[in-house]
Amino acid sequence: MAAIEQLTQDFLRTKKLPHIWCPGCGNGIVTAAMVRAFKRAGFEQRDIVIVSGIGCSSRAAGYLNFNTLHTTHGRALSFATGLKMARPELHVFVIMGDGDCSAIGGNHFIHTARRNIDLNAVIVNNHIYGMTGGQHSPLTPSGKKATTAPLGTLERSFDLLELARGAGATFGARGTAAQPRQLEQLMVRGAKHKGFSVIEALSPCPISYGRRNKLGGPVEMLLDIKNKSVPVERASEMSSEELEGKNVTGLIYAYDAPEFSEEYYRMIEQFKDK
């Protein structure tokens, strides 16, 4: 059996397929990159937990053959924090969408970053609420249209990785569904990083975002994402004018800091054998 088929059989719940995602959606590409990253990171299947929130991308949990926890809207990181503190030996991956993570889950996101707890957040950013049919999120670029912003949104969008960095996350990377190999590599590095790792995956939503904003079909959208992505190494040599409208991809930051669950268990060691 080819390696990829073996991977599909082991790590995907093939009986639950086909998935619910629309044609041209990037969620499948991101999910596949995750599955490959699990394999490459070398973790035991039984030690991997997938936690997800509410939204299109969060449905990935149901298709992945691990212990999977599909939670409430915005709260995935808090469920994951409880689980990780109870069972620090587990590798916990948290899949969220842009609205799930940065709007309703914004508070949990910054505090998870502040604690630097060893969770791996993968945020599928398609700039829109897809499941409910195309409302603007905090990651919808200014001016873009949505069902709740028919004239274009006036709001400014977050830079998710800078938000996380400011709040204390120790690993931040950005990949795209148009460059799945790089995304996979970033996921492996994030998985191995001790501390809160944030991986933003830019992904096309042709149905609820692309159509309304005349961005073309899936192929055009993927090409657009690819063309707008600038590797972090190159971006350092570019001016802010040149970077306008671009997305810096790659490993944006990674540094060591005390990890919360490890620190907690070290702190309570003094009570052992008492």
């Binding site: 639950k16 299947q45 039984r46 030690d47 937990v49 936690v51 949990a61 149901g62 053959n65 691990f66 212990n67 999977t68 926890l69 599909h70 939670t71 409430t72 709260r75 808090s78 469920f79 994951a80 924090t81 409880g82 689980l83 990780k84 503190m85 109870a86 069972r87 030996e89 587990l90 508070n107 949990h108 505090h111 907690y264 702190m267 309570i268 009570f271 052992k272 008492k274």
Partner: protein, 376 residues
């Protein structure tokens, strides 16, 4: 029962200690008056027991974190008061749907909204029943003393584990902050057996045949947990048959184990003419009246105290209504549980509410005056 030692304890502390005795080793929550002592006690005690205490960023996260910990195999509890209880409702519903054991303590204070944070109230009785959306079952205990708080918390933890159902401890500010004697068993071990000890080979996380233990994550059973309606394996389904069966199963679970869930206590005359039905701190005032009216004066008076408020002890109230002419229902609200009492009395007894909602207790004198309408 092992030897017991008397300890002077505050209600909130007794709640925390009861949880610990029942094997709780995880607390996540957010500070709020008048429940904060539960958190503070847990913050001191859990680390020395190898457990986890974590103060979360908000009430919602506290509720989410105990569910996460419970799925990881830890017995988990959180504590809050009215405003926080409102925020926790979303994830309480999740725990009901996904059948994750956990205990939620609500030390009731005067509401609505921020209300009077330090004043007692029994205003959250209906919120405990219907606070989260959807047609769900719920278990709620309401202790009337510090001693009862200790033992009901133990019962709450164990029932929650056995039934895989969230249990609400509905304290009130009086019970939470009062200090009383509690008899603590020496061993401090009052846990039922670990739920995951005997896992059958054909284990399904949501077995339609009946109760099935929760196998924690990380032991090689790759099941799915979701707040969506789901099949026996946990996978989402919108099939009307699956949906109906799943909701019925959640309710049947409580009906089947009703005798273990519904706890009441009757004191007083065997054939009462007038009976009190109440719960929580209001039991104390009613008991003082029964003491005087029945034990001293031998009037035909009795008191049915409800340790369990949900599911409502309908059969017990119905039986009482057949016996008594009048049922008096004191509550620190504008009349919430009295409607259930009326419903189950089925017109066989006159049901008289006594309500107070100015942030003060109902006094025995106040109840004695009401009783005077019929007796002596």
């Amino acid at each position: 029962m092992p030897e017991k030692k008397p300890v002077l304890m505050q209600g909130n502390e007794a709640c925390a200690e009861g949880a610990i005795s029942a094997g709780v080793r995880f607390y996540a929550g957010y500070p709020i008056t008048p429940s904060t002592e539960v958190a503070e006690h847990m913050a001191r005690r859990l680390p020395e027991l190898g457990g986890v205490f974590i103060q979360m960023e908000d009430e919602i996260a506290g509720m989410a974190a105990i569910i996460g910990a419970s799925i990881g195999g830890k017995r988990a509890i959180t504590a809050t008061s009215g405003p926080g209880f409102s925020l926790k409702q979303e994830n309480i519903g999740y725990a009901i749907m996904a059948e994750i054991p956990c205990v939620i303590v609500n030390v009731q204070r005067m509401g609505p909204s921020t209300g009077v944070p330090t004043a007692p109230s029994q205003g959250d009785v209906m919120q405990a029943r219907w606070g989260t959306h959807g047609d769900h079952p719920i278990i709620a205990f309401s202790p009337a003393s510090v001693y009862e708080t200790y033992y009901l918390t133990i019962a709450a933890v164990n029932l929650s584990q056995k039934l895989r159902q969230p249990v609400i401890m509905l304290l009130d500010e009086v019970i939470g902050h009062m200090r009383e004697k509690v008899l603590i068993p020496d061993t401090g071990k009052l846990m039922v057996e670990k739920s995951s000890d005997n896992v059958p080979a054909d284990w399904k996380p949501y077995d339609e045949k009946g109760l099935t233990p929760l196998v924690p994550f990380g032991f090689g059973h790759y099941y799915h947990v979701t707040g969506l309606f789901h099949d026996q394996y946990g996978f989402p389904s919108g099939d009307p048959e699956v949906v109906k069966r799943a909701l019925d199963r959640l309710h049947d679970k409580l009906e089947k184990y009703r005798d273990e869930i519904v706890l009441t206590n009757y004191v007083g005359h065997k054939e009462p003419r007038v009976a009190f039905v109440t719960y929580g701190c209001s039991v104390r005032s009613a008991r003082a009246v029964v003491k005087k009216a029945y034990w001293q004066n031998r009037w035909p008076v009795g008191l049915l105290s409800l340790q369990t408020v949900w599911p409502f002890p309908g059969r017990e109230v119905e039986a009482l209504a057949r016996q008594a002419d009048v049922i008096i229902v004191p509550e620190l609200n504008r009349g919430q549980l009295v409607r259930e009492v009326e419903r189950y009395s089925r017109g066989q007894a006159e049901v008289v509410p006594v309500n107070r909602y100015d942030g003060e207790m109902i006094t025995p004198d106040q109840l004695m005056e009401v009783l005077g309408r019929w007796l002596p």
